[in-house]
Amino acid sequence: MSDAGDTIIEISRLHTRFGTAVVHEDINLTVKRGEIFALAGSSGCGKSTLLREIIRLQRPDSGTIKVFGRDVHRIGDDEILELRRRWGMMFERGALFSALTVAENVAMPLHEHTDLDDELIDEIVAIKIVLAGLPASAGAKYPSELSGGMRKRAALARAIALDPELLFLDEPTAGLDPLSAGGLDELVRHLKELLGLTILIVTHDLDLLWRVADRVAVLGDGHVLGVGTMEELSKSEHPMVREYFYGPRGRAAREQAWNRK
């Protein structure tokens, strides 16, 4: 199929405006197969908007976004459904269906998109829940009974329910304590290695950037300020990128990352 080789996501000449506010101005990015790509930048720089545009929850004003070689904003409903089965999305606040238990949440895409028996689906669900780092007993609970960290993991379990090739994580560590956040870093890297996923993370967590991202794009002022590994970016001359990485928190995260190596 026309998967355009090793390029999974290709964004070119993207513009987005909200009224008079310019969110994106001429954004060009590519994400390659098998990498963990992070979108970083300060709050309100349009990184979540970009993510929503990639998965077609929102429309850009102009420009193209190709995922698996298909222009997501210029294909029909059947084709977008096909694409949606190949990617998983974990929302910032989980977006678990509150009327369903965790296990039912994870089972929902499986019931919807496969014709497996209920028994096999239940077994697969149990594995996904454990893979996402939850105890199997959490499956019977409702999202409201879970802590913030467990809810994120449950959301991750739902995102990987269909064994997607591409996983989107929106602020996976926001609102978590350092220990849970660290656990989630590990989990993301682990999943990528074992399942061969391509992962796109939207985050402003510098620890996460240092620890898991293969490549990072820093957004700001509607532009891509820099793309590269964290080491390359930390040598960048751009004042906003420097400010981002060399603020007190940026430095601490960097030192920690070095120490770990």
Partner: protein
């Protein structure tokens, strides 16, 4: 997706050899491909024991679902007495299989408990009793808060009261007016044929006056307001509860009772009697219009007779019930809102319950009033 390619389906074939057997696995062992394979594999697990080689060299794609199926099949075969040897799997598939073997403990997701019919009835009764107790204690709580703010009138939130008065009272005028006018028309019309048969046309004023003023107007208004405002109270408070806004209010030092409950009760206790008076007027007007067109009773005759037939007490009985209904509606709406917990779903459920319960209680109290008034000969 590779939906059209020949290898998109998973295959497994058992080949008998002298030593035992070889299970040839091929194709794409993925979510999309394994559905037909499941029954086939169960058939294998019923065959006889011996050494068995599972050959995975021809598996073109493997995902977690496929790995689990392979893992489960091998476990079943092993349990049936086979000695399993796995060979030929690609290294990345092997890694995935190991991961799944590690993470698939024997414990599954515990199912939700199912109860017998007796236990379910018991639980239902118990939960209703608890709810009734909760409503009573909520009544007590709001009474105490009410007394507290009467002692310190500066704590009364006039702005919130006026806002609720507009929302629940003024904005309800069109719908209450229209419906009570129509009810007046209907009552008068239904009576007209019977009264005309006896030549008792003028008594239509008695019929319309008493039924509208004593029963129809207060009840109709209360039901409309329960549907309009009681549900809104439950939804508002329920949503605030779910998003922790109620907790935020407590933290800031604003008692939710003072800000959210009392203004609603007070505003509705003023608005509902006023709406009832308005419904009285429109209802009688509807009856009058119908009396003229169907029975030929002129407006002045109607009003003359109305004056004689309907005593002041009938009017007051109708209006007197309204504040009680108002307290019931506001109390039940707020109470059910506070009972919402955790999810968007529960807000919806509590809102429905609030309307049903408010209307139920309003009608129960209306019946009680009728009994009491007939004892008192009013």
């Amino acid at each position: 997706m590779s939906g059209s390619s020949p290898k998109s389906v998973a295959e497994a074939n058992l080949e008998k050899t002298d030593e035992g057997g070889i299970l040839h696995c091929a194709g794409s062992w993925t979510l999309q491909g394994i559905a037909p394979l499941e029954q086939q594999l169960e058939k294998f697990s019923r065959s006889e024991a011996g050494p068995l080689i599972v050959d995975g060299a021809a598996i073109s794609a493997l995902d977690t679902a496929g790995a689990w199926l392979l893992c489960r099949t091998m476990r079943q075969l092993a349990r049936n007495g086979y000695t399993i040897e796995l060979q030929g799997l690609r290294p990345e598939h092997d890694a995935l299989l190991r991961l799944i073997q590690k993470h698939s403990g024997e414990e599954g997701v515990p199912g939700t408990a199912r109860f017998g019919i007796l236990e379910r009835v018991g639980r239902l009764v118990w939960s209703h009793l608890l709810q009734f107790q909760g409503l009573l204690s909520f009544l007590g709580e709001s009474t105490i808060a009410m007394l507290g703010s009467l002692l310190r009138p500066s704590r009364i939130r006039w702005r919130a009261i006026l806002y609720n008065l507009q929302l629940a009272g003024f904005n309800a005028l069109p719908i209450v007016g229209l419906l009570s006018f129509l009810i007046g028309v209907v009552v008068s019309y239904q009576g007209a044929t019977q009264l005309a048969r006896y030549g008792a046309n003028i008594f239509v004023a008695d019929l319309v006056g008493l039924s509208i003023l004593r029963e129809m107007a207060p009840l109709l208004t209360a039901i409309i307001v329960a549907g309009r405002s009681g549900s809104a109270y439950a939804a508002q408070i329920g949503t605030m509860k779910v998003t922790e806004e109620i907790d935020a209010l407590r933290t800031i030092g604003v008692p939710p009772m003072d800000l959210l409950v009392l203004p609603k009760i007070l505003a509705l206790a003023v608005a509902l009697p006023l709406l009832t008076v308005y419904a009285d007027i429109l209802g009688v007007l509807g009856g009058m219009v119908m009396a003229k067109s169907q029975l030929g009773v002129s407006y002045s005759d109607f009003l003359d007779r109305f004056d004689d037939a309907v005593k002041m007490s009938s009017y007051l009985v109708g209006i007197g019930k309204a504040p009680v209904f108002a307290v019931i509606i506001a109390l039940v709406g707020c109470f059910q809102g506070f009972r919402a917990s955790g999810s968007a779903d529960s807000v919806g459920r509590q809102t429905t319950v609030s309307v049903v319960q408010a209307i139920f209680l309003v009608i129960i109290f209306d019946a009680l009033f009728s009994v009491i008034f007939s004892w008192l000969n009013i």
